[in-house]
Symmetry: C2
Subunit: 738 residues, 2 copies
Amino acid sequence: MDYIIYLVLAASVVALGFAYYFYKSMLGEDEGTDLMKKIALHVRKGAMAYLKQQYKVVIIVFIILAVIFAVMAYFNLQNEWVWFAFLTGGFFSGLAGFFGMKTATYASARTANAARKSLNDGLKVAFRSGAVMGLTVVGLALLDISLWFIILTSFTDYDMIAITTTMLTFGMGASTQALFARVGGGIYTKAADVGADLVGKTEYNIPEDDPRNPATIADNVGDNVGDVAGMGADLYESYAGSILATAALGAAAFARSAADGMQLKAIFAPMLIAAVGVLLSVIGIFLVRTKEDTNMKQLLGALSRGTNTSSILIAIATFFILWGLGIENWLGISFSVVVGLLAGVIIGKFTEYYTSQSYRPTKKVAESANTGPATVIISGLGLGMISTAVPVITIGVAIILAYLCAIGFDVNNFLSAENLSLGLYGIGIAAVGMLSTLGITLATDAYGPIADNAGGNAEMSGLGAEVRKRTDALDALGNTTAATGKGFAIGSAALTALALLASYVEEIKIALVRLAENASNGLAQVTDTIALSVEQIEASSLIDFMEYYQVNLMNPKVLVGVFIGAMMSFLFCGLTMNAVGRAAQKMVEEVRRQFREIKGILEGKAEPDYARCVGISTKGAQQEMLFPSLLAIVTPIVVGVVFGVAGVLGLLIGGLSTGFVLAVFMANAGGAWDNAKKYIEEGNHGGKGSEQHKATVVGDTVGDPFKDTAGPSLNILIKLMSMVSIVMAGLTVSFTLI
Amino acid sequence: MDYIIYLVLAASVVALGFAYYFYKSMLGEDEGTDLMKKIALHVRKGAMAYLKQQYKVVIIVFIILAVIFAVMAYFNLQNEWVWFAFLTGGFFSGLAGFFGMKTATYASARTANAARKSLNDGLKVAFRSGAVMGLTVVGLALLDISLWFIILTSFTDYDMIAITTTMLTFGMGASTQALFARVGGGIYTKAADVGADLVGKTEYNIPEDDPRNPATIADNVGDNVGDVAGMGADLYESYAGSILATAALGAAAFARSAADGMQLKAIFAPMLIAAVGVLLSVIGIFLVRTKEDTNMKQLLGALSRGTNTSSILIAIATFFILWGLGIENWLGISFSVVVGLLAGVIIGKFTEYYTSQSYRPTKKVAESANTGPATVIISGLGLGMISTAVPVITIGVAIILAYLCAIGFDVNNFLSAENLSLGLYGIGIAAVGMLSTLGITLATDAYGPIADNAGGNAEMSGLGAEVRKRTDALDALGNTTAATGKGFAIGSAALTALALLASYVEEIKIALVRLAENASNGLAQVTDTIALSVEQIEASSLIDFMEYYQVNLMNPKVLVGVFIGAMMSFLFCGLTMNAVGRAAQKMVEEVRRQFREIKGILEGKAEPDYARCVGISTKGAQQEMLFPSLLAIVTPIVVGVVFGVAGVLGLLIGGLSTGFVLAVFMANAGGAWDNAKKYIEEGNHGGKGSEQHKATVVGDTVGDPFKDTAGPSLNILIKLMSMVSIVMAGLTVSFTLI
C-alpha cells in the first residue's frame, strides 16, 4: 500500500520536470531589442527586490510563530513536529511564488517579442510560461505532502490521525505565507496601478504603460508581485489545503477500519487524484496549440480544449482510481469528486457571465456610464451583490450532494456519527476534484499577467500599435480565464474550509487526549461539568463533541462567534481597501511631484525617477500588510480563549459564510467594472476618451482593490483562521474564560 | 395582576393623546405665503397619492398571505387567530406611516415659515412634528399589543405561550408592511433624489430643490414616503417586535412557574418598561426647548438633553418597575435592560464618530476627493467596512452581558435549559431597553426629513438665502440624529432577531404538540428516528430540540442554511440597489427630455411637468419593490421545506449575522459620504463647485441607496425572515424533503 505515496512523489517530480522543461524552452526564446531587455531587467530587479524585502518581513513573523509552537510543544500543548511543518509550508509556498515570478519576469519581454511575429507565437510563450507556474505550484505541493508523509511515518509512531493533522500545520504555514503574499502584493500592485492611472491617464492623458509615467515600472512590477507571486502562493495554499484537509478527514472517517488498510486508502485517495490530475494537466497543456492566423475565439477555444480535456479525463480517471484503490463506497465517493468538478465549472461559467462584456450584466454597467460615475458604481455594486446567488446556491447544492453521494444517499441516518465523517470526507474530496486540474487551470490564469506585462514592455519599448494590440488581445483573454480561475479558488475555499471545521474538532479530540494522559486522575476536563477519560474521548464522535461543547445555534457563545466572524471579513477588507487607498495617495503625490519638478519629463526628454515609485509601493505594502494579516492570526486565538470551542466554531462559520459571499461579490463587481471599461474602449457608448469612458475608469479603479487585493485575500483569510484554530486547539481546551 | 395590561393601554392612550396635541398645535402655526401653501399641497398630494398606490399593492399581498394562513389554520397547521393578527399588524404599521407622513407634509411649509422668524422657531415646529411621529408609533404599537393581549385572554383558552406566539404574528404583519414601505419608499425617494441631482446639479448646475428642476417635487415627495412613512413603519416593527419577542421568551422561560403569576410578570415586564418609557419620552420632548438666538451646538445640546434625560430616567425606573413587579431576579434583569440601553448609546456615539464631518474618518474621505471620485468611493467603502467592528463587538458584549446578568452570572451552568431561557429573555429585554425611549429618539430622527422638506419649500418659494441657511442647519442637525437613530434600529434588530430564534423553536414545539394531538398514535414524528408524545414534547427544553434536529455546526444542512442566509442579505441589497439604479435612470432620461423639449424651462418661464416625474418614481417603486420583498417571504419557506428546522435556523443566523454587518457597513459608508460632501461644501478642499466637490457628489449619490434604501431594509429583512419561519413552523415540522 505504502508504495502509493511514492507514486505521488513521482507525480510531483514529473510536474517539476515539465515545469523546468517549459522554463528552459521559454528562456531559449529571443528577448528582443536592447531596450526591451533593459526594461525587462528593470521590472525583474524591482520585483525581486520587493520579494526579498517581503520575505524578510515574513520570515520574522514565521520565526516568532515557530517559536510559539515550539514553546507549546514544550508545554505539551502541541506535538514537536508542528513548528517545523509550519516552516516548510511557508517555505515551499514562498518558493512557488518565487519560481513563478522569476519565470514571469523572464517571459514578459519574450512574449512581447514573440507577439511581434504573430498572436499565436505570443500565446505560446505566455501560456508555456504560465504552465511553469501551474506545474511548479502543484509539483511543490505534492512534493511537500509526500515528503512529510514519508518523514512522519518513518520517524514517529503517530497514528494516522495524528500524522494527517500534523501535516495540516504545514497548511497553516502555506496559508500564512499566502496571506502576506496576497495582501502585500495586492497592496503593492494596486497602489502602483491606481497611482499611475489617476495621474497619468486621468490628469495628463498619457496612455497606459507610457515610459513618461514615473509609476509605470512600479505598475509592471506590481503585476508580478501581486498577480503572479501572490496568486501562486494563494493557489499553493488552496491546493495543498484541500488535499491535506481531506486526508485528515479520511483518517478520521476510516479510523475504525485502520486494520484493513482502509484508513490509508482514504488518506491516499485525494493525493492520488491530485497526482493523476497533474499528469492529465500536462497532457492538457500540450493540447493548447493553435494554427497560424487564429482569431480570439479560436484562441479561447484552444485554451478551453486543454482545460476541458483535462477535466473530463480526470472525472473518468477518478472512478478507476478509487475503484482500483479499493476504497469503500468508491462509486459514491467518485461521484462526490465529480460534483466538485461540476460545481467548479458552473461557478466558472457564471463568473464569466457576470463579468464578461459579452453578456448583459456587464453591458448594463457600461450603459450606466451614460449617467456618470455614480451610476457605474451603483450598478457594479448591485451586479456584484446579485452575482453571489448562483455560486452560493451551487456550493450549497454541491455540499449536500457530495455529502449524500459519499454516504450512499442514506438519508434516514443523515447525521449518524459514521455518516457524518464519511459525508464530510465527500465534501473535502469534492474540493480536491475541483482543484485536481490546477496544473492547467493555473497555467491559463497565470499567463494573463505575463501578457499584461508583455504589453507594458511593448509600449515602453515603442514596438508599435500592432504588437500592443496583440498583447492586449492576449491580456483580454487572460481576464476571462482569470475570472474563471477566481471562481475555482473561491468555491474550493468554501469546501475546504468546511472540511477544516471537522479537522478542528478532530484536533480538539487529540488535544483532549493529551490533556487526559497528563492529568493525575486520567481525566480531561472538557467543560465545567464534563470530564472524560482517554477511552471515552476516543469513543466520542464529532456529534458528541458538538453536544459536549454545546455547539448549537441557541448558544450565545456560538452566536457571538458568528457575528465576529462575519465582521472580520468586512473589517479585513476595509483595512486592505484603505491600505491601497493610502499607498495610492502617496503614489499620486509622488507622480505629480515628478511631473512638476523634473523638467522635460512630459516631452520624453528627461527620465522619470522610477525607483522612487517602486520604493513607495514597496514601503506602503510592507507597512500595511502586517496589521490585517496579524489580525487574522490573533482573532481565532482570542475568541478561543474567551469563548472556547463553541465560540471558535461560530467564528469560523461566520467568517466562512460572509467571507465567501463577500469574496464573490468583490471579485465579480471588480471584474465587471474592468470589462465595462474595456467594452466602452471597444467603441461603445462614446468610446475611448468620452465622459462615459472616464466614468468607467472610476469604476475600474474602485474595482482594482476589490478584485485583486481584498477579494482574493478573503479565501486565504477563511482558511488561515481555521488553520490557526486547529494549531491552537491545545490552548483552547486548556484555558477558556467563559 | 391583569390590571397591568390596562396600564399599558393607558400609556398608549397618553402617547396618542400627546401626539394629537402636538399635531393640533403644529396645525395652528401659519403655513406662510400662498406659494408656500401651493407647493406644500403639491408635495402632500403626491405623497398621499403614492401611499394610496402603495397600500393598494400591499393590501393584495396581505390578503393572499392572510388566505394562506387561514388555509393553514383549516388544516390545523396554525391557529385560527393568526391571519387576523397578521392583518392588524400590517394595518397599524401602515397607520403609523400614514399619520407620520400626514403630519410631515403639513409641517414642512410651517417649519419653513417659522424659520423665517428664527432658527429656534423652526426647530420647535419641526421637532414637535417629529414628536407626533414618535408618539404615534409607540402609541399604536402599545395599543395593538394591549388590545390583542386582552382579546386573546378573553376569547380563547390558550395558555400564555400560545398567546404570546400568536401575537408574534401581528409582528409579522408589521414587518411585512415595513419591508414594503422601506423598500418601496426607499426606491421612490432615491430614484427621485439621484435623478434630480444627476441632471439638475451635475449637468445644469442649478441648485438643489430649484423649482426649474422637473424632479424636485418628486424628490420632496420622496423624503416623505421614504424617510418618514418608511421609517415610521420600520420602527413600529422594531419596537413592537422587540416587545412581542421578549414577551414570548418570558412566557417560555417562566412557564414552569405559571401558577405563582411569575409567567405573567415576565410577559408584562417588557410592556411595562415600554409604557413607562413612553411617559418619560413625553417628559423628554417637553425638555427640548432653547432660548432665542441659539447656535447649532446649543440646538444639539437641547436635543441631547431631551434624549439623555429620558434614557437616564428609564434606566433608573427599570429597577423600580421590575422590583415592583416582583419578578424573579429583578436586579439581574434590570441590568440586562441597562446593558441594552448602554449598547445603544455606544453604537450611536460610534456611528456619529464614523459619519460626522467633525471627526477624522469622514474628513479622510473628504480629503481623498483631492485624487478624484474613485478614491472617494474606495475610502468610503473602506471606512464603512472598518466601522462595523465596534458595533458588532458592542452587540457581542451586550449579548453575553445581558445573558449573564439575567442568569445571575451562573457561569458554571451557562447553557442549562433553565438558564438558556432566562438568558435569552435577558437578551430580548435588552432590546426593549434599547428602544424604550423610542418616543423621543424617533422624534429627533423624524424631524430631519421635515426640515429637509422645509428647505425644499423655502427654496422653491424663493424665501431667500437666510431662511434656506436655517433650514439647512436644521437638516444637518437631523443628519447627526438620524445616524444615531439608525444605530439604535440596527442594534436592536440584532438583539430582537436573536430573541426570535428562540421563539421559532418555541413555535416548533407548539406545532409538534398540534401534530401529536392529531396523530392516531399520539406521537409526533420529529425526525426520521425520533417520535415524541405531547408530554415528551412539552418536557423538552430548547437545547433538547437542538439535539433532536441536530442544529449543530457540523450539520451540512445548518451550514448550507448559513450560506444561503449570508447570500440573501447581499442578494436583497443588490436587487434594491439595482432597482434604484434603474428607476433613477428613467428619471434622468425624463428630466433631460423636459429640459430639452419644454422651452423656457431653464429661464423659469415655463413650468416643468412635475407630475410626470412623480409618476415615474411611483411606478418604478411599485414595480421594483415586489420581487425583493417576496423573496424575503418565500426563502425561509423553501429552506424549511427542503432542509427542515436545522436549515431554517442556519438561514436565520446567516441572514442575521451578515445582514447586521452589511447594514452597519452601508449605513455608515452612506452617512460618511453625505457628510464628506457637506464638509467640502463648508469650504474645505476647494469648496462648492470644485472638482473635489464633484467627486464627493459621486460618493453621496452612491451613498443614497446605501443608507436610505438597501441598508435600513436589512433590519426588517432579518426580522421578517424570522417571523415568516415562526408562522410557517407548522409546515416545516409536517413536511421536509431531506
